[in-house]
């Protein structure tokens, strides 16, 4: 009888005799409790934050909040129409700009680039680093570019530029991860049938990576929609009293409006700010839900 068999039999005999599993020793229980506490801490903070915001903001969740512009005279009629529309403009513009660009860049790096070449290595390292750059730095960069073209502060295009710079590295990195998760056997199988690298990428790798790409893209966008810092840099306005209609219109954004109200000590404005946070959270949660839906719908296993 081998040592392993002996050990297994002893364990079984011990469990039967005492009715206790070795998985329930004091040491392992303490460890388990520590794990639970860590989890509890994270969830507790989030819950307190959400509940607090909800209590303060819910009384102002009315039609005015969504349909009215901001008002300095009638706090109870203060609305976030400009901010919500501005955020939607920024998000759609960012998506249109970054999704094709990000996927194309990632596809080149993952499927076509020879990663032994020094210039491809430099590009790779830089993209990794870009994802860790503080958001406000992108704001400064976007501001510089806007100035270069002689464009004014606070335009939709400026916000889109800043948020795109912020989102692009995230989309590139997640798309590369998704492409890398496609087994190389699939590519080899395609190439062995006489397909070109381009056909293999277009017909096999990219379709297989769609769930990962979509999830990463949406998560990147939902991070961008909540950003205020880069938008402050490009001068997105706290208060705009018309709907943006083109890329060169002045615009506001929801996070900026919330930020603008935070310094206002009137109770009614604090309430409105909390209500706006709920709206922003709902937009972000909606995007995340979409990401989860896409991931589950197209999920496949190899």
């Amino acid at each position: 009888m081998s040592a392993a068999t002996v050990a297994a039999r002893e364990t079984t005999a011990h469990t039967i005799a005492t009715g206790k599993s070795r998985d329930r020793t004091p040491g392992s229980l303490i460890f388990l409790i520590a794990l639970w506490l860590s989890l509890f801490f994270g969830i507790a903070v989030l819950t307190v934050l959400l509940v607090d915001t909800a209590i303060k903001g819910l009384p102002r969740m009315d039609g005015n909040l969504l349909t009215e512009y901001d008002s300095t005279l009638f706090p109870e009629k203060h609305g976030f129409r400009a901010g919500i529309l501005g955020s939607i403009w920024l998000m759609l513009g960012t998506a249109l700009f970054t999704v094709p660009l990000g996927i194309a860049a990632a596809t080149y790096l993952e499927e076509f680039a020879d990663n032994k070449k020094w210039y491809n290595r430099i590009i790779e390292i830089n993209i990794q680093n870009l994802a860790a750059v503080p958001a406000i730095v992108y704001g400064i960069l976007a501001l510089g570019v806007m100035g270069l073209f002689g464009l004014a502060d606070g335009l939709v295009i400026g916000g889109i530029l800043a948020l795109s710079l912020l989102t692009l590295p995230i989309i590139i990195i997640t798309t590369r991860e998704a492409l890398r998760a496609v087994p190389s056997e699939i590519r080899q199988g395609s190439l062995a049938l006489g397909a070109t690298v381009w056909q293999t990428t277009w017909r096999n790798s990219l379709p297989s990576a769609v769930p990962g790409i979509a999830t990463g893209t949406i998560l990147g966008l939902s991070r961008a929609i909540g950003e205020a810092a880069p938008l402050v840099m490009v001068g997105i306005f706290v208060s705009v009293r018309f709907d943006p209609a083109s890329l060169t219109d002045m615009a506001s954004a929801l996070p900026i409006q919330i930020y603008g109200l935070a310094s206002n000590s009137q109770e009614a404005y604090q309430q409105a700010a909390n209500a706006a946070i709920i709206v922003l959270l709902l937009m972000v949660l909606g995007l995340n839900a979409l990401a989860i839906f896409i991931r589950n719908k197209f999920q496949r296993s190899w």
């Binding site: 081998s2 040592a3 392993a4 020879d114 032994k116 087994p183 056997e185 699939i186 080899q188 199988g189 395609s190 190439l191 062995a192 049938l193 006489g194 397909a195 070109t196 056909q199 017909r203 096999n204 379709p207 297989s208 496949r300 296993s301 190899w302």
Partner: protein
């Protein structure tokens, strides 16, 4: 952990238990009268050397593959047999740092010559891999993939799909679920699907890289039957770790071994013996072949 039990019995040398004799016996079904060397080889490897960077992977291989024959490449792990196989349809081009010296000819044309498009080479010389690798698409789209990407002139794709699936002895099992995902099939069915996918592009030669190593014995035997059927139309070259399998299906067998370099210790693969399967198993010319097939080494 204290001493694990010895569950592996090492075979003694010699043929006391009739091991080698059984190899010759299982070969009988596949056996045919063939000349000593392929008279009109479809493919030939002439002084083939393969390098991965500085590493010399395969040394001076000379082989010729006869039309409508099955040639098995056998040998211990790391002897370069898969490398040689991948050179035959330029799949090694995809490995960074791989370099091929010497010639590989297909109907007399060097496929490594300047101006030869590896994509074209692969449409004539198909490949089946170790692990079944169907695409994450429907069974139908898996088969139609090759003809579509190569721009084959096709009258009716449905007929091409049916013909390929019949050719791979899979039609009756899947004809009612052509639009379903290929991942719903069993491992053996997936591998036959991969074979069907390969023959749909009407290749001349089919390379198989240990096609049964991920399959159970029943699925393996179906693939082996299929190979003997496909032999009538195609030239098949198969890498296998399983000597029984080489004996069961192949007409000719090439035995490779690995020789460590004296200074670096890197193991370079070389061809030891190439002969009719019957002769190689019953009466090997080389001591190393004899040692390997009788289980004294490898």
């Amino acid at each position: 952990m204290p001493n694990p039990p010895a569950t592996v019995t090492i075979r003694k040398g010699g043929d006391d238990d009739g091991h080698v004799g059984s190899l010759a016996q299982v070969h009988q079904e596949a056996e045919r009268e063939l000349p000593d060397l392929p008279p009109n080889p479809v493919m030939e490897a002439i002084d083939l050397n393969v390098f991965y960077g500085d590493f010399h992977a395969v040394h001076d291989v000379k082989l010729s593959f006869g039309k409508n024959e099955i040639t098995a490449l056998i040998g211990p792990s790391g002897c370069g047999k898969s490398t040689v196989l991948r050179c035959l349809n330029r799949m090694n081009d995809l490995v960074a740092g791989a370099r091929v010296e010497g010639q590989v000819t297909y109907h007399g044309q060097d496929i490594y010559a300047r101006g030869v498009d590896p994509i074209m080479v692969r449409t004539h010389i198909g490949m089946v891999f170790q692990k079944p690798n169907p695409f994450p698409k429907s069974i139908y789209d898996n088969i139609a993939y090759g003809p579509r990407v190569t721009g084959m002139k096709v009258d009716k794709m449905d007929d091409v799909v049916e013909e390929a699936l019949r050719g791979a002895a899979l039609w009756d099992e899947v004809k009612d679920k052509l639009k379903q995902s290929a991942y719903g099939l069993s491992g053996g069915q997936q591998q036959r699907l991969c074979i069907a996918r390969t023959i749909a592009t009407k290749p001349d030669v089919i390379l198989m890289d240990e096609p049964c190593s991920a399959l159970d014995p029943i699925a393996t035997s179906r693939i082996e039957d299929l190979m003997l059927e496909l032999r009538e139309q195609y030239t098949i070259i198969i890498v296998t770790h399983n000597m029984q399998q080489a004996a069961r299906v192949s007409d000719r067998t090439a035995f490779f071994t690995a020789k460590p370099d004296e200074t670096t210790g890197n193991r370079t693969g070389l061809l030891v013996e190439y002969n009719l399967t019957n002769k190689l198993f019953s009466n090997p010319n080389d001591k190393r072949t004899e040692d390997y097939i009788s289980g004294r080494f490898g």
